[in-house]
Symmetry: C2
Subunit: 369 residues, 2 copies
């Protein structure tokens, strides 16, 4: 178990052919597209990210574009974060919530030239949500999925590589800021971002017919840095405490329960979807917190976690485990979990459920590293 | 290529453990859940469906429930089909469209007791769409995903098997009609439906903790009919001309372009999303038709079709191929396609794109069998 059956229902990214040619071995499905997860050597892929530079096909990170007279107001209505001081060329990590305040997505919102916005999305069909709200609310904006596919270049050597390709000025880009630019005529948005804490960029390709060309140019320039293929790294992202929306959290989580409280502005003047519910959450008290766990186990390979498992205290469920990995850098088994606030505050040892029993775990703040 | 990486982002159905125990070998992802596609013997799985009876884990077929004072009006607003004469206990195959008249999903809508409705859905997060429309439009309904997971029993011997389990009265159920019932205390909705043309039922389990129990009861009763595991069958569904929404069609297709014209009532009094756009389509003329192809090829195994490929006429693209299989029953290679109406009307031979060239294909009506 298990081979994956590919069908036209599941799209490929513009970088898929290049990824296959580079030895793609494992995939998952994300936003109804193929997301590479490994090229057959997880250790080399991790080392490359921590010490060198890696290229990732993250074309599954789809964009929803808003453009039109009401784009500012519409973007704000979708976001639980105050956008009033947002500048062109800036990105912000935002929570999109439903009317009950449950988080539907944790995209980076990018404000482009021409009054356009992109939601750069996690795994959920937010285009449906946005189209329905725009039409029924009567916003004067066009909402659609543009031909935009990110290619990530991540790792400590990414800055040198990207500076060679685009110029030294890219070193001045602040985190989550971006440039609308090109590479040898290939239109793209160059953003200082990416789903790791090792530094790097995302190249938002704006012409789906040129994916292999862009991949090859980055690989050629990266040869001197020993660049190689990789994918969003499960171990590094747990060490860094990066949320995998929809995996780490239960579907009824609010932003305060996934570590996004600091990006949630319930007291701003502007209205947004879920505002009333989130105000009430702060009145009633936040029930769960997103925390790290240091797990006592002898199983260095760690059991595979294909679904969330219970966290218990004295036999009673007090949370859910969303991810567990062995960190070679820490020499420890670590996990990400949502746990009841009073249990976190009490600082007690909990138990995580594993095949055949439980293991004790200590609660800690994020990130680990 | 390619192993699939399972994560908590991807859910399993209540029947997953039973499917694994039965020898599950291949899967795909559908509605962010694991959908079994094979148990390692495609020929036996096909034969069982055509001549015997098969059990399928189709828990990925998620329900969106509408319940509340405005449920009738709300259900109608989502559907391009006239629901005014719909009865409790009845299902209808409906197109859900966006405001431009593009089809977003082709569910079976079921009208249950207590004024409730279920949309029994293809692969798209329609819960997002429905929640946004309900909230912004101000319908007084609750919209949510209930704990409901279908298990299909398909094939010519399904009627005898289901009659043994539920009683002889089930033989009187009309196609797409259903009963709210139970099996030894397991709550479920028994529907005469399923994604094949071989006859059968779907058991909509209403308690996710009892999936293995239900599977085992069906398997035990089915032993005398030589029941075995299977999955929605790619060959049979092409022979039967059943639409795979999102695979067979391009994203900008209207219901008339996917063979759902007879279920699309643009002249009814009630309003529905996309009505104005679909009226205009009928004024302007339908551009493409959903048709069958008989393909001339010596490759009996047929090339794998992981994405839609072009259909051409004199070198110019006139359509897209969504599926291609070899039908042993027909002794022919057949496909499903969307092709420009004038090309269909002209009755000419087209060319389908395959690896390394093209093959001639004759256009035909659906179903093949």
């Amino acid at each position: 178990m298990s081979r994956i059956t590919l069908t036209p229902r599941i799209r490929t990214s513009p970088f898929y052919e290049a990824a296959v040619a580079a030895g793609l071995s494992d995939v998952t499905i994300y936003n109804k597209m193929i997301l590479p997860t490994s090229f057959g050597d997880l250790k080399a892929e991790y080392d490359r990210l921590i010490n060198g530079v890696a290229i990732w096909d993250v074309g599954v990170e789809r964009q929803v574009e808003l453009v039109g007279p009401d784009a500012d107001a519409c973007a704000q209505y979708f976001c639980a974060r105050d956008l009033s001081n947002m500048k062109e060329g800036q990105g912000k990590y935002v929570a999109m919530c439903d009317y009950e305040g449950h988080i539907l997505n944790d995209p980076v919102l990018m404000k482009l030239s021409g009054g356009r916005y992109w939601f750069s999305l996690a795994d959920h069909d937010m285009l449906l949500w946005c189209k329905a709200v725009v039409a029924e609310k009567g916003f004067d904006v066009r909402v659609y999925e543009p031909d935009v596919s990110p290619l990530a270049v991540q790792g400590p050597k990414a800055h040198d590589l990207i500076a060679e390709l685009f110029g030294e000025h890219i070193r001045d880009l602040k985190f989550f800021w971006f440039l609308e630019t090109e590479l040898d005529g290939i239109p793209l948005v160059l953003s200082r971002s990416g789903w790791s804490k090792q530094g790097g960029f995302e190249l938002f390709l704006q012409d789906g017919s040129r994916g292999t060309e862009l991949w090859d140019k980055v690989m050629a320039a990266g040869a001197k840095y020993d660049i190689g293929p990789g994918a969003p790294n499960h171990v590094e992202r747990v060490e860094s405490g990066l949320l995998s929306w929809g995996g780490d959290n239960t579907p009824d989580s609010n932003p305060f329960e996934v570590g996004m409280g600091r990006y949630t502005d319930v007291d701003m003047d502007a209205d947004f979807i879920g505002k009333r519910a989130l105000k009430q959450v702060l009145v009633d008290g936040i029930e769960r917190l997103f925390v790290g766990l240091i797990v006592e186990t002898d199983d260095v390979d760690v059991w595979p976690l294909a679904e969330r498992t219970p966290i218990t205290l004295d036999g009673e469920q007090v949370g859910t485990l969303g991810a567990i990995v062995y960190s070679h850098r820490m020499g420890k088994t670590i996990g990400l979990a949502q746990i009841k606030r009073e249990v976190v505050d009490a600082g007690v040892t909990v138990e995580v459920t594993r095949p055949g029993g439980t293991s004790p775990a200590e609660i800690t703040t994020l990130p680990f590293l």
